[in-house]
């Protein structure tokens, strides 16, 4: 770190590729407790994102992230479109005008994203959603940030993974899966999973630097 605008675009390309590589997997998770479109919708969304930001290397990070958010909102649809879209738009506000993102920025970005998702979706931890991955990740990164970015990132990612896996054990209270009630137990949440994929992609890239 810091991450330049060009590097940010590379990270976003990695996100697109990893989501795309997990398209079937995410869709399959969604077919168990939703409507079998999560991987399809997100892949479509991040593909559009790449088309929009490809040549934004000379723009500030705020503009890039805002474009990501707006593109997701207008292409993904369903529940995850507005949620991830809001998350990225809020992230963009945090680094408005900035040409690079440092570690402190990154933590603020995560916080703004979570805040956006919770405001939009009104979900709390433990309701089997994206929040179950993102919130523990943020808690852990904040607790450990004095240990250095690498350790903090690794611990954060572990917490995210644990949160994602915990969604198997709980009843869905938000989103389409909530209609299943008890029957949602035993299935991992697709949104919690895609969120982990995104966080891991970012961490991998930053850790390599």
């Amino acid at each position: 770190m810091p991450v330049t605008a060009k590097e940010l675009i590379e990270i976003l390309r990695d996100i697109y590729e990893n989501i795309s590589a997990n398209k079937e997997y995410l869709t399959q998770l969604d077919s168990a407790i939703g409507d079998a479109d999560h991987g399809i919708n997100l892949t479509k969304g991040f593909k559009s994102v790449m088309e929009k930001i490809e040549n934004m290397g000379d723009k500030d990070c705020g503009s890039i992230l805002k474009t990501v958010g707006m593109t997701l909102v207008s292409t993904v649809g369903g529940a995850s479109g507005p949620l991830y879209g809001t998350a990225f738009m809020r992230a963009g506000q945090v680094v408005a005008q900035k040409t690079s993102i440092d570690f402190e920025d990154y933590i603020k970005i995560l916080e703004a994203a979570l805040d956006g998702i919770k405001t939009r979706g009104k979900a709390e931890k433990g309701e089997k959603t994206i929040v179950d991955t993102l919130e523990p990740a943020i808690e852990e990164i904040k607790i450990n940030k004095d240990k250095g970015k690498d350790i903090a990132l690794e611990l954060s990612l572990k917490a995210a993974e644990k949160g994602m896996e915990y969604t198997k054990e709980i009843i869905a209270k938000k989103g389409r899966a909530s209609y299943l009630g008890e029957r949602s137990i035993g299935h991992q949440d697709p949104g919690a999973t895609s969120c982990y994929i995104i966080l891991k992609t970012v961490a991998d890239k930053i850790l390599k630097k």
């Binding site: 649809g77 369903g78 209609y179 029957r183």
Partner: protein, 332 residues
């Protein structure tokens, strides 16, 4: 997959084009958007009504665009909420200066996308209000969950709020009467067969040859029970028992009835359902004011149906009876 389509990717666009070609006297399409608006939109000084959701529920919602009902119907991909930019365009296109009411079916995706669009419109100075329809009694309501789904009862909201707007009601008044409908409308459905989302190419769930699902949602969401095939009367008895005790509807009440086909069920079967519905209402001393039998809120070619009861008062009766002229709902 046996469907009269060309390319699963373009079903929504082609459908909307075919619709506009069929009904130029009623509607036009916003260029570049999957949005159908009244031919004479924006109607100056009238509160505008915007609804929409995933496609596959035709005639909902674009089929109800016209005089006395909706000003715009926004069509998402099949079974997928439309995105805020589409809804935002709809709002801008129909706002006649008196404000816009968004009629949203209660699905997380729909609610969030419509809310975002509403916020976008507000920042442009358009007065936007919204109501959320949640008539499906199959889903247990609870403060901890997202609550009930919105299904066929939504069409009564379109009709009655539409009549209020047509009669010159303010945004507040139109919203208030829409909420009155929502408070007084209950539905429940069932399915005999699944349907196939064109892009998926295969059924969205399976039911054995001798099985049916009671309480199933309009996207094939699970219901309250999967059972062996039952006679029509038994099915109706079960749905009605759930619906009647939910509001509850009491002896002396007057109701509007909607027997809604999900797409693959012949009209014959809907009338057979209605025979039993009317018997049950009769036994309970509930008076049928008006009945609607047909396809209003479908699930592609799914076989099955839903029953909707709307408890009426004088205001709702008058608005229900007001004329409407739309492709899929006409009243003289």
């Amino acid at each position: 997959m046996k469907k009269l389509i060309n390319n699963p990717e373009f079903v929504v666009e082609e459908m909307l084009q075919g619709m506009v070609k069929a009904y130029p006297q009623y509607v036009k399409k916003l260029e570049g958007y999957n949005v159908i608006v009244r031919k004479d939109a924006p109607v100056k000084g009238k509160v505008a009504l915007v609804s929409g959701g995933g496609s596959g529920h035709e005639p909902s919602h674009a089929g109800f665009v016209g005089k006395g009902m909706l000003d715009a119907g926004v069509a998402g991909n099949v079974f997928t909420s439309p995105t805020p930019d589409q809804i935002f365009e709809a709002i801008k296109a129909v706002d006649g200066g008196a404000g816009v009411l968004l009629i949203i079916k209660n699905y997380t995706g729909d609610v969030m996308n419509f809310e975002m669009a509403g916020e976008m419109a507000q920042t442009e100075g358009i007065n936007v209000a919204s109501v959320i329809v949640n008539d499906d009694v199959a889903v247990e309501n609870s403060t901890y969950t997202v609550g009930r789904r919105g299904i066929a009862g939504t069409v009564f909201v379109h009709k009655i709020a539409g009549a209020k707007a047509q009669a010159g009601g303010t945004l507040e008044e139109v919203k208030a009467v829409a909420e009155k409908v929502i408070k007084n409308v209950r539905s429940m459905g069932m399915a005999l067969t699944p349907c196939i989302v064109p892009a998926a190419g295969k059924p969205n769930f399976t039911l054995a040859d001798d099985e049916m699902e009671i309480g199933m949602g309009i996207h094939g969401e699970p219901g309250t029970m999967r059972t062996k095939l039952m006679k029509a009367d038994e099915v109706v008895d079960h749905l009605m028992s759930k619906i009647l005790k939910d509001l509850p509807y009491n002896s002396g009440d007057e109701v509007a009835v909607m027997i809604n086909g999900l797409g693959g069920t012949p009209l014959m079967e809907l009338f057979i359902m209605n025979k039993r519905v009317s018997e049950i209402l009769d036994q309970n001393g509930i008076k049928v004011y008006k009945t609607f039998v047909g396809e209003y809120m479908t699930s592609l070619e799914m076989a099955g149906g839903s029953i909707t009861l709307l408890k009426l008062d004088d205001e709702l009766k008058e608005l229900l009876d007001a004329p409407a002229d739309t492709p899929a709902f006409k009243q003289l």
